[in-house]
Symmetry: C2
Subunit: 198 residues, 2 copies
Amino acid sequence: MPKQVDHHERRQAIARALWRVVEQRGVTHLTVREVAREAGMSHGQLQHYFATREAMLSFAMDFASEQTSLRVGRGLQELGDEPHPRDVLRLMLTEMLPLHADARATSRMSAAFVLEALHNENFHARARDGMTQGKLLVEQLIRQAIADGHIGSDRDPVTEAHLLLALTGFTTLLELGVIEPREALAAVDHHLDRLFQV
Amino acid sequence: MPKQVDHHERRQAIARALWRVVEQRGVTHLTVREVAREAGMSHGQLQHYFATREAMLSFAMDFASEQTSLRVGRGLQELGDEPHPRDVLRLMLTEMLPLHADARATSRMSAAFVLEALHNENFHARARDGMTQGKLLVEQLIRQAIADGHIGSDRDPVTEAHLLLALTGFTTLLELGVIEPREALAAVDHHLDRLFQV
C-alpha cells in the first residue's frame, strides 16, 4: 500500500477512535491520551499523525461531515434520477439526526465540535461556514421547489430553510429519550407535508 | 443572616460561578477546581457546599431551570391576566434560546448538562423528566388552545408540541452566528402564525 494512503487511513482510524471516545464516554474524555488509547497506539505514535489536539479534532470533524455527505449521497442515489425535493430535504434533515448508529456517531461528534467552537475562533469560523453552506443549499432547494410549483409561491425560502434546520433540535429530544424516533419522523413528515402543500 | 439562608446563597453563588466557567471557557473546563477558582474559594471550601462534582453540577442545573422558569413567570405577568396562548408558547420557546445574556448562560448550562447526561444515568433520567414535563405542558397549552378555537381542531397537539420543542435547534444556529436573533424570532413567529391559523 502506498505510504500516503496508509497515512490517510491511519488518520481516519484515529478519527473513528475519537468518535468512539465522544460517543461512548463523552466530550470530557476528549483528550489526546484517551484517543490514543482507544486507537491502540501510544501518545507519541498518535502525534506522528496529529501534532495537536486541535488538528486531530478538526480532522475528525471534517471526516464526520464527509461521512454524513456520503450517507446523504447514497440516499439520493436510492431516490432515483429525478428525486422529489420533499424527499431530498427529508433525507438531508434525517441524516443529521441520531436515528441510527452511524448518524449518532457523527451527530455526537458534531455536537462536541460545536461546543468547542464556542471557545475556539478557528473552530467557530469553520463550524459557521459549514452550517452556512448547508443553510444555503436548503434555501436553494426550496427556491427551486417553489419555481417548480412544489411549494407555494407565498413561502419565503429563507425562513423555511431556517425552520427546517432548526428541527435538528430533535437531536436532544431523541438523545434523552423524550420522544421516540418514530415520533420525530412523524413530526418531520408533518412539517414537510405542510411546506409542500400548494 | 440565618445560617441556612447563607448556606443556600453560597450554593447559588457557586452555581453562578459554574455557569460562568461553562459559558466563558466551555465544558472541558467544568472541574471542581476551576469552579472553586471562579467562585473565589479553595477546593476544600467548595467541598463544604458540594461533596461531589455531580452534586454541584446537579444543583447548578436545577438553579438554571429555576431561573428560566422565573424569567418565563415574569414574562407571563407582563402578558396580563388572560394571555393569548400564542404569546405564552412564544415566551416559553424564546426564553430557551440564547437571545440575551441570562438566557445564554442557562442555555449553555443546559447544553453542558445534556452532554453529561449522555454518559450519566442519573443525569439522563433527570434531564429526560424535566424535558418531558416541559413537553407535556406545551401539549396541554396546545390542547387548550384547540378547545378554545385558537388552533384548528385538525391539529395534533402531540406532533405540534414536538415541532415547537424541536425549534430549540435554533440554539446552535444562533451560537455559531449562522443566523441572526431577528431571523430566529421571525421564523418562530412564522411557525406560530401558521399554527394559530384557524
